[in-house]
Symmetry: C2
Subunit: 258 residues, 2 copies
């Protein structure tokens, strides 16, 4: 279960902030360079004027600090958000109180897509480190989407993509395959954002990785050690260096289907 260092921030944070936050960093368009959603919209038929219409819907919110919740299971839904910086974990608690990690969200990725069906978020979202977000009011973006076919299409695509992604980890794979797929996935997602595909720092605890992959933390630990012994990986606490990406990709192949 996640700790919440300052629960009082929660109510004040995700719900609307003052309009001023939009230009807090002095450049309302700056998120374009860090927000894959916005970028994708450009490449899917939105021109500059249309993109501006999208921009006025955006609120920059945060920062959230590690352990702070962005939203909680049951909170009223009215916005999706793109991660600008930091990383976010989404999870649910089952009725026995057990945590189930649904995913990790890196810069450029959207959170809250699974809330569109319903009036409430169906999961919790917590910051793993210092997190800034772009908030998109969903009612407003829906109205805009009706006017801008490119935006509508992009939203459909993003939703559709997540359906496929969720099925990814669902197969019955060995612990090593799962972990390889996780590492390859992190590598690819980070490199898309301009980070090194081979050297990076994990923002989540081993227990979170294990929970996400449906393994015991001990199994994750042992597999990482084995990868290190085989020269595939260099592990130093949360700092990773992938020494043989090809080997990991081969292991992860059947999962990633790429």
């Amino acid at each position: 279960m996640s700790t919440d260092t300052d629960a009082t921030l929660r109510a004040a944070s995700f719900p609307k902030t003052s309009p001023g936050t939009l230009s807090d960093d002095g450049d309302a368009l700056s998120f374009c360079t860090t927000c894959a959603f916005s970028n994708a919209c450009i490449s899917h038929g939105l021109d500059k004027d249309q993109l501006n219409e999208l921009h006025v819907l955006v609120e920059h919110i945060g920062p959230f600090h590690a352990g702070e919740h962005i939203f909680r299971d049951g909170d009223a839904f009215d916005a999706i958000a793109a991660v600008r910086s930091g990383s976010v974990k989404t999870y649910v608690l089952d009725r026995d109180g057990n945590e189930h990690v649904l995913g990790f969200h890196l810069p450029g990725e959207l959170i809250g897509l699974n809330a569109i069906d319903g009036d409430h978020y169906p999961c919790n979202a917590v910051a793993l480190d210092t997190v800034s977000l772009c908030r998109f009011s969903f009612p407003k973006i829906s109205i805009l989407a009706a006017k801008l076919p490119g935006l509508q299409r992009q939203l459909f695509r993003l939703l559709s993509r997540d359906i496929g992604k969720a099925a990814l980890m669902a197969g019955d794979w060995t612990a090593e395959q799962r972990i390889a797929a996780f590492l390859v996935g992190m590598s690819r997602r980070l490199s898309e954002r301009g980070y090194s595909p081979t050297r990076f720092q994990l923002s989540m605890a081993r227990t979170d990785i294990a929970n996400y992959l449906r393994l015991a933390p001990e199994t994750v630990s042992r597999a990482l050690r084995k990868f290190q012994e085989e020269g595939v990986l260099h592990v130093d606490r949360r700092n990773l260096e992938i020494l043989d990406l090809t080997k990991l990709e081969t292991l992860a192949n059947p999962i990633l289907r790429t």
Copy 2:
């Protein structure tokens, strides 16, 4: 791996059929009573005229016979479809040729939603028994969705819902919990369509159930026998009678989160 009793039907079937098929059964609106999608649209703000605009996009296709493919991994995507009758299995083959069942689709449910992101279907869809479908051209329905906020919203909701559903089975649950959740799910989905929640016939083989739940067929068999010995279930080949739905729901509780 699925057999395809008549591969030649494939190319001719899912792609457009003659417009005449819309009224083949003499009642262009008849699918409303069997298609949850259409029903949901009504209850989400579409009036009769708007629904008619939706109807002209619809083509009734089929029937497909057991083993026939509705579409295949890699086929060009341009339509989603609602199951009118029968049931459909979706699956992928990994590069080692192993089948992975993604889901089963009963009357009223949509297939092809995970294809919207991309120009090709990312999986195969095969009829498990005799199947009729309503085909919705996706480009056309997108255009209509831009005009009808209720339809757009409904599409967003359906996509979002599938993201959540995919995460459902992803947890690490015991064989009994998985099978209980599967049975409860079937029961609920069938009763939504007006069938008995306690007596029904499975349209899929044990191996498909096992594959879907990521269990060995033997494990499914043993679990069903155990349920029968406990008086929870009566099993006769593919005919099931649920004797103690409450017990199954209790087992499935943490998975279904209901």
